[in-house]
């Protein structure tokens, strides 16, 4: 868009400059013409008066009179001479003889005057025209065989019988130059301005040419003729990404080709590979070389992407290339996706394609894959703009999963689980899997935690007989702002705090146990409990039981799951954890109780609490407290 606008402005400036230059030229020529016309008009006035005077002085028959009156002829010659200023080079009076030749009657020149009756052959046919018509005319001289004369004013001396003589007043070339010279400062200025304009035009033209040349180099990859990443960025400014399906292609093991045949042959092969790509892809497809051996295809939507992908993949895989007298086949890995509606950011799309590509490569390369719906959701819900807007609009809610007393199957408490609400479909709740990794450690995370805490306390306040546990990352507790937020919330809702359990999950190993113990103590100060989440997996190990005090241990789902798969090894472990819990006076919860068999096993082992989809999915709290509603 910018380039198009620039072109428009460039041509506007160009047109203005040319217009200005032409206007200046027109103005100066108009002004010079006006000056010339003024002088010619003056000459006509002189000629008219002289003609009248000659008629009056020669009694009508001018030729006969002048022939017989030598003295009068001299006098009239002198009078004509009086008019010979810088403006007029020659002034003379001609008549036609019987043979039609022009002969001098009078001549105003003092130096080498023409004799009476001397012949003159005028160059211009206009002499005859004026003689015939009896109407004055200006003759443009400047023709071959005429010198020092700019223009000739031909003024006929006419009586009732027609033209008797022709008064010729030659305006001098020198005077024309003088007239032009009068305008010369303006003319010179105009010329200089025109030169300046011309140079400016040249400069603008050259700059524009250089810009477009540079831009072309930036936009088109010189080796493969494919578009570049810069082109893609600019193209997507005016063409919504959502209008295209995208395919990422990466040639496998191309480094080996370069090593074996050298970079020169490698480049040739890459060029031929791109040509082959052009041949197999659908029309209107844009090919972008992202770098190295990585290409992105933008395929207009509406076609069967999976079929196209397969066709490209198989055709290119089977294609044989001749290089350095050897036949080479190239394999490639390809990831493709239907770009979701509203997708704007090519970085996101490329990231997703890259992730898929990584997956393909790690599975052994030489394959293709189409990214599914789940990834598309991730694309939308992991967008920081979406997250920010959701938090701004407080589209955050909690679902509650019940934790049951295993033996009696009574709800003992609930675990609060955060969800975002979709902006287009409020019934769609978004799992933290999409957004938590994006906002972890940012101010947005604290904002979200604040909203979660608020909802948890509101729920506790609303339902006086329930307990709720909520997840907290250990690193959150190390964060001063986060800890301040929790402390303030607990302080504000002191009466509710004892019904709240913090389930500590951690991404990193606890190293400073004293600090962790101090934080736990601060939380317990208000009566809240501390649970060790996911015990038995990751960093949540026995050292934690040794170093820190816990109110609850939650056995990780990956262990509980094994109760069915490998009961002979899993049951003793689960039993030992249960016994440890009893020993340390901790409640023990079995997570991931997803079916009846697991529940029975857990019950047999006498795990105090159970949690899982078999017993209850995460739902709004009302679903469990008022099941009839």
């Amino acid at each position: 868009m910018k380039a198009i606008n620039n072109t428009k402005y460039f041509f506007m400036i160009l047109a203005l400059l040319i217009g200005f230059g032409l206007y200046l030229q027109y103005s100066i020529e108009k002004s010079t013409k006006a000056l010339h016309a003024l002088e010619i008009s003056k000459a006509e006035q002189y000629a008219s008066r002289i003609a009248k005077y000659l008629e009056s002085e020669t009694n009508g028959d001018i030729k006969a009179y002048l022939q017989s009156h030598n003295a009068k002829r001299e006098t009239l010659n002198n009078i004509l001479h009086a008019f010979l200023t810088d403006e007029f080079r020659y002034i003379f009076l001609l008549t036609k003889d019987a043979e039609g030749h022009y002969r001098f009657l009078l001549d105003g020149s003092l130096k080498e005057p023409e004799e009476f009756n001397a012949l003159l052959f005028p160059k211009s046919p206009q002499f005859d025209e004026v003689y015939r018509s009896g109407k004055p005319q200006i003759v443009e001289q400047g023709e071959k065989g005429v010198e020092e004369v700019w223009r000739s004013l031909l003024y006929p001396v006419v009586d009732k019988n027609g033209t008797k003589a022709l008064l010729v007043m030659d305006l001098s070339q020198a005077y024309a130059s003088y007239l032009s010279h009068l305008n010369s400062p303006i003319s010179k200025t105009v010329t200089l301005m025109q030169i300046f304009l011309l140079l400016s035009l040249f400069f603008i033209g050259y700059t524009t040419y250089s810009f477009y040349k540079f831009r072309k180099n930036m936009m088109i990859d010189p080796l493969t003729n494919a578009a570049t990443k810069a082109w893609l960025h600019e193209y997507l400014r005016t063409h919504p990404l959502e209008d295209f399906d995208v395919v990422l292609i990466d040639i496998d093991e191309f480094k080996r080709i370069n090593q074996k045949f050298g970079y020169k042959h490698g480049d040739q092969l890459l060029k031929r590979y791109t040509q082959a790509l052009y041949e197999v892809m659908p029309p209107e497809t844009k090919v972008v070389r992202l770098g190295g051996t990585e290409f992105l295809l933008l395929i207009p939507k509406g076609s069967d992407l999976e079929r196209i992908l397969k066709k490209i993949f198989l055709t290119l895989r089977e294609k044989e290339f001749n290089i350095a007298n050897e036949t080479v086949c190239l394999s490639a890995s390809m990831a493709a996706m239907h770009t979701p509606e509203g997708a704007r950011s090519e970085e996101k799309i490329l990231r997703m394609l890259d992730e898929k590509m990584l997956e393909i490569k790690s599975r052994g390369k030489n394959a293709y894959a189409l990214i599914g719906e789940k990834h598309l959701d991730d694309l939308k819900y992991s967008d920081i703009e979406f997250i920010k807007q959701a938090l701004e609009e407080e589209r955050v809610t909690c679902l509650f999963q019940p934790i049951y007393k295993t033996q009696t199957k009574e709800i003992a408490k609930f675990e609060a689980l955060v969800r975002f609400i979709d902006d287009e479909d409020p019934s769609k709740l978004i799992s933290p899997f999409h957004f938590l990794p994006v906002i972890k450690g940012t101010s947005q995370y604290i904002k979200m935690s604040k909203l979660v805490l608020q909802e948890v306390f509101d729920t506790l306040q609303k339902h006086e007989d329930i307990e709720i546990s909520m997840n907290l990352d250990l690193t959150d507790l190390y964060h001063r702002d986060m800890m301040k937020l929790i402390s303030e919330a607990l302080h504000t809702h002191q009466s509710l705090a004892e019904r709240l359990t913090f389930e500590i999950v951690e991404d990193m190993e606890i190293k400073d146990y004293d600090k962790a113990a101090a934080i736990f103590q601060e939380l317990r100060a208000y009566g809240s409990k501390i649970a060790l989440d996911d015990f038995g997996s990751g960093y949540a190990n026995y050292t934690y039981l040794i170093k820190l005090d816990w109110d609850m241990i939650k056995i990780d789902g990956s262990i509980i799951k094994e109760l069915l798969e490998k009961p002979e090894r899993t049951e003793p472990i689960v039993q030992s954890i249960n016994e440890l819990g009893i020993y340390f006076n901790c409640s023990v919860v079995a997570e991931f109780v997803s079916n009846e068999e697991i529940y029975k096993k857990v019950k047999e082992i006498f795990i105090e609490y159970s949690q899982g989809y078999y017993l209850g999915e995460p739902k709004p709290i009302e679903a469990y407290l008022n099941p009839n509603r």
């Binding site: 020659y90 023409e114 012949l119 003159l120 052959f121 005429v146």
Partner: protein
């Protein structure tokens, strides 16, 4: 240096154009008067002589008796030429063509003239003199011939 070279080339070109134009005029004119492929011209005027050296049909000669035509620039030259021709008793007198109107007016053996009048080049022949030498002008020059001055 380059500008000077360009100036010299342009000036030389313009000069050559002027020379070529004069030469063409004389070639056409003299070949109308003398029906020969090569016309030997006696040209006392050095400038005009230099112009004629570029022609293949007009050959400037140094000996008066070899000339088919003499270009007479002024009275002095006219008198010198006529006295020389008379003394040498040449079998055939060359034609005399003037570059001055007054020579045409004054000397009856001058058949025509090419001269300037009021900034205009003028060509003039006198019919009776042409007839005397058996010269018949082509149509394009007829308008420049008169019975009397």
């Amino acid at each position: 240096m380059r500008a000077l070279l360009i100036f010299m080339v342009l000036w030389g070109h313009l000069y050559a154009m002027d020379t070529r134009s004069t030469l063409n005029l004389y070639q056409d004119l003299l070949s109308s008067l003398i029906p020969k492929k090569v016309i030997r011209v006696y040209v006392p005027d050095q400038e005009l002589h230099d112009v004629f050296t570029h022609s293949v049909s007009l050959i400037p000669v140094s000996q008066l008796q070899e000339a088919d035509i003499v270009i007479v620039p002024n009275k002095t030259v006219y008198e010198r030429i006529t006295s020389k021709l008379a003394s040498q008793k040449v079998s055939k007198f060359p034609l005399l063509f003037a570059t001055d109107y007054h020579l045409l007016d004054k000397y009856p053996d001058v058949i025509g003239a090419l001269y300037w009048r009021k900034g205009r080049s003028q060509l003039l022949f006198i019919n009776s003199r042409l007839k005397k030498y058996g010269i018949s002008l082509p149509d394009k020059y007829q308008k420049y011939s008169v019975e009397r001055l």
